[in-house]
Subunit: 125 residues, 2 copies
């Protein structure tokens, strides 16, 4: 089995490709106990998370991942992943910085997203 760093990178690659192509496909990654905090709005359960993600006020989105850092978390095989990057929505030419943290938990030979916190980052003044 791949190490936590490799699993984190594979997850991040898969997640943003799926997000940018078809947000409904992300439902495979969440479970009933999953939580998403998106721009400080918290939702839980896979249904509410997908509803939140598919109702975001843009049609097209493209994420660029700049950094991925991971750590094993706890004694139950969890992996903590922190991403920084930029995203562009619709026809807005200016990219926005974002940071996103996932806690992945093992489940039947794969991983699901237990925790997901997303935040845009505005340039410091």
């Amino acid at each position: 089995m791949a190490g936590f760093d490799e699993i984190a990178k594979q997850f991040v690659d898969f997640y943003y490709k799926a997000f940018d192509a078809d947000r409904t496909s992300l439902s495979a990654l969440y479970r009933q106990e999953s939580m998403l905090t998106f721009e400080s709005v918290a939702v839980a359960t896979v249904g509410s998370i997908i509803e939140k993600l598919t109702s975001l006020p843009f049609q097209k989105v493209q994420h660029r991942v700049d950094t991925t850092d991971a750590q094993p978390s706890g004694q139950h095989g969890g992996i903590l992943v922190m991403v920084t990057g930029a995203l562009m929505v619709d026809d807005e030419p200016k990219p926005m910085n974002f940071t996103q943290t996932f806690q992945l938990m093992p489940d039947s030979g794969s991983f699901f997203v237990l925790n997901d916190i997303f935040k845009l980052v505005y340039p410091a003044l």
Copy 2:
């Protein structure tokens, strides 16, 4: 006992005040099983973490917390905390964006930092 959101805010307030005043005092927050990934350099155990934090190439530092988001993590009372903010070091007038994720774990009525990932965020081009 305070809820996870309140605990997260109290922790964040304490952490950055301690960091900016005296980094060695942060040793009380870590344990032997703790991990720190600082700008993608990973260290573990409280001794190595404090050595890393106290050897950072600046004398003075001031953190400003802009956002704190928290979620309960797992079934063992853990709390996941994601911070975004800005920091200024020494006499450099320009603030730098940062993001930092902590996983707090309960221990004898208090919490310690199991996971800590810090990353500077550079403005998207």
